[in-house]
């Protein structure tokens, strides 16, 4: 679960990581009040769940209150499109207004899980404010790493090793160590999957500060992170994805026109790849899951078809835990309950009760195209365009 920058900063601050003074605003009057408190010298930042906002005009430095309000008005007027969003972009509902700071050095700091090592790692670099992926490619020696033993956690000496490795002056070591230990604590205590401070800066007053911050909470740990004050901002997600989540479906909207209904995440990705390889484009990722019943399949079809971009549907089921007859019944129920036209549905069914499922679909006479393998499936999908 992604946090907004202001939520990430509130979390970090709670654990002793210094952040700039700032407040969140969702109206222009709030913006005016906050900007005034900084005598107009402030930074206005859109709060969206998408990276790359800086290059898309989502972060502006202003010198006076009126400019702050003008910038804010423009930002709040519509969606922002960045390299990480769809063409539609994401809505801007909140702005973070922060004091402007005089920065003398920009660093990079992150805490994340390294799946290969099966450990949490801390990464730091003197190349702050840049895309860390690019730094890793261009000058890998500029990236420092400390691997954390899960039994003892981050040790101060590891933070000291990083501080020295970053070439910080000795006077900054204790600030850096305290900051990193705090951030690590936040990471562990709130089951984060990522904390990224980029840039971590040194100001001309000699203070280390997290000027930008990203944080994500491990979705699978949310059950035990209930009392945290950060709430998920569902406005940042598409309505259709929120609906899917509410129904317990794993759904990701894409830009194509072939709606996909699959069981299993791996097979769902494979299905998207097959569609793409055939020269068509998938409209979504959708895993109905192993434990789906008729109602859930019905719901899945409804959600799938609520995307007006979907011109045809590919149902690809390998029955295992989920029986093909259950899926068939769900499709029939959904199709029959629709008042508007249903796009053509191509169905491939294998595994548990595949014959029964195909029989149900045939007998329902809802005009689905039954296919036997991927080749036939892609041919049929293409023929439908």
């Amino acid at each position: 679960m992604k946090l907004h920058e202001y939520q990430a900063k509130a979390l970090l601050s709670k654990y002793g990581v210094p952040v700039p003074r700032g407040e969140v605003a969702s109206s222009l009057s709030e913006v005016r009040r906050i900007a005034k408190s900084f005598e107009g010298n402030c930074v206005v930042k859109v709060q969206v769940h998408a990276g790359g906002r800086g290059k898309s005009g989502g972060v502006k430095l202003v010198k006076d209150v009126d400019s702050a309000v003008a910038v804010a008005e423009q930002m709040l007027s519509g969606n922002i499109v960045t390299i990480q969003t769809t063409a539609e972009g994401v809505p801007v509902n909140e702005l973070l207004i922060e004091e402007a700071l005089d920065v003398t050095k920009e660093l990079y700091l992150s805490i994340l899980v390294d799946g290969g090592l099966g450990r949490v790692i801390v990464m730091a670099s003197e190349a702050g404010g840049m895309d860390i992926e690019k730094v890793a490619e261009d000058s890998p020696d500029k990236i420092l790493k400390e691997v954390i033993d899960p039994n003892i956690g981050l040790m101060a000496y590891q933070a000291r090793n990083l501080s020295i490795g970053l070439g910080l002056d000795r006077e900054f070591h204790s600030q850096f160590i305290k900051l990193l230990l705090g951030a690590f604590n936040a990471f562990i205590q709130t089951d984060c999957s990522l904390i990224e401070i980029n840039p971590l800066v040194i100001t001309s007053q000699g203070q280390l500060l997290a000027i930008d911050a990203k944080a994500s909470i491990d979705d699978d740990a949310l059950f035990r992170q209930k009392d945290e004050s950060f709430n998920y901002d569902s406005r940042q997600e598409l309505e259709i994805e929120n609906l899917a989540r509410a129904s317990g479906l794993s759904y990701v909207k894409l830009d194509g026109d072939v709606g996909c209904l699959v069981n299993g995440a791996g097979l769902a990705m494979a299905t998207m790849d097959v569609i793409m390889a055939a020269g068509a484009t998938p409209a979504n990722f959708l895993d109905v899951g192993g434990g789906a019943d008729v109602n859930k399949v019905h719901k899945a079809v409804d959600i799938l078809l609520s995307d007006s971009g979907v011109k045809k549907v590919f149902v690809n089921i390998f029955g295992g835990i989920l029986r093909c007859d259950v899926v068939a019944e769900g499709i029939v129920a959904a199709t029959k309950s629709r008042k508007t036209h249903t796009p053509p549905i191509v169905v491939r069914m294998l595994g548990t009760n595949a014959d029964e499922g195909r029989k149900i679909l045939k007998e329902a006479k809802i005009g689905v195209h039954l296919v036997n393998d991927f080749t036939e499936a892609t041919k049929t999908i293409k023929s439908l365009s």
Binding site: G118, R119, D220, G320, T375
Partner: protein, 293 residues
């Protein structure tokens, strides 16, 4: 001989009385698995399907039945503890089906299991099936599988069934099929399973199914290059997945260049693996690879 599960596997099921646990335990027994015990705290003394004794603790189950392998179906919040309980009771191989285990739990538990010398498969995996030894410790549909000489290892459940569904009709049977699971941190990775298949006399070739996210496939590629002499047929899915979005599996998310399907394919190609061009071609590519042995 298969890997992980064998004729002498004595399976204990943790969470045997739950909805999923009971359903799949029955299917495992149907397939031929020797299920010797079940565990559900508070339900000790019952008999599952009138034959498998249920215990309150794994220790009791192991003491009474000499179970050596455990299949875990308990809810995510208790999965880590269930795995540790199994290892402490002397279970050698723990297979955790449970989906949704917090990553921090997985990190701790994997370290613990490694330290103890036992072996963890999963969490969030379909389990293990050995068609040649007729043992199924997992949730896969048994009828799709056929005995043979190809090992399968995969991060994905249904995609493995798909792969096997393409292999079996072509007359390509399987020695063992291992699901390592779709989570970012898991007990066994491709490298572990590839190493075992390489040593396994019953296996001639290995089908390896990876996906976007993490670097497990790159680690596998490095391992293949220097340690695997048998042909590896590899499919990576998620070529069309957008960056930054979790594609179902907790581990299937493109967080950087290395996490891209294309990076993984490149590494595996370099390591000499046979690359499956599209998920539709798993069977045919494997056939081709086998013809070159």
């Amino acid at each position: 001989m298969s890997i992980f599960v064998r004729k002498d596997t004595r399976l204990l099921v943790q969470g045997i009385t739950g909805k999923e646990g009971s359903y799949h335990t029955a299917r495992c027994i149907d397939y031929g698995t020797n299920v010797v015990a079940g565990v559900t705290p508070g339900k000790g003394g019952q008999l599952f399907e009138e034959k498998v004794p249920v215990y309150d603790t794994v220790k009791q189950g192991v003491d009474e039945t000499n179970a050596n392998t455990s299949l875990v179906f308990v809810p995510p919040a208790f999965a880590a503890e269930a795995i540790i309980e199994a290892v402490d009771a002397g279970i050698q191989i723990v297979i955790c089906i449970t989906e949704g285990v917090p990553v921090s739990d997985a990190i701790k538990v994997c370290e613990y299991v490694n330290r103890s010398g036992a072996r963890l498969i999963g969490p969030n995996c379909p389990g293990i099936i050995s068609p040649i030894d007729k043992v199924k410790a997992g949730i896969m549909p048994g009828h799709v599988y056929a005995p043979g000489r190809v090992g399968v290892v995969s991060r994905s459940g249904t995609l493995t069934y798909e792969a096997v569904g393409q292999l079996t009709p072509l007359g390509i049977g399987q020695s063992t099929c291992v699901g390592i699971g779709g989570d970012p941190v898991s007990g066994s990775d491709f490298v572990d399973v590839l190493g075992l298949f390489e040593k396994d006399e019953a296996t001639d070739a290995i089908v390896m199914i990876g996906e976007i996210g993490g670097t497990k496939e790159q680690e596998a590629a490095e391992f293949i290059q220097s340690n695997v002499s048998k042909p590896v047929i590899s499919l990576i899915v998620g070529q069309t997945a957008p960056p930054g979005r979790r594609m179902g599996h907790a581990g299937a998310i493109i967080t950087g260049t290395a996490a891209l399907a294309s990076s993984k394919v490149k590494s595996l190609e370099k390591a000499g693996a046979f690359i499956v061009p599209s998920p539709a071609d798993i069977g045919t590519t494997t056939m081709e690879a086998l013809s070159q042995i």
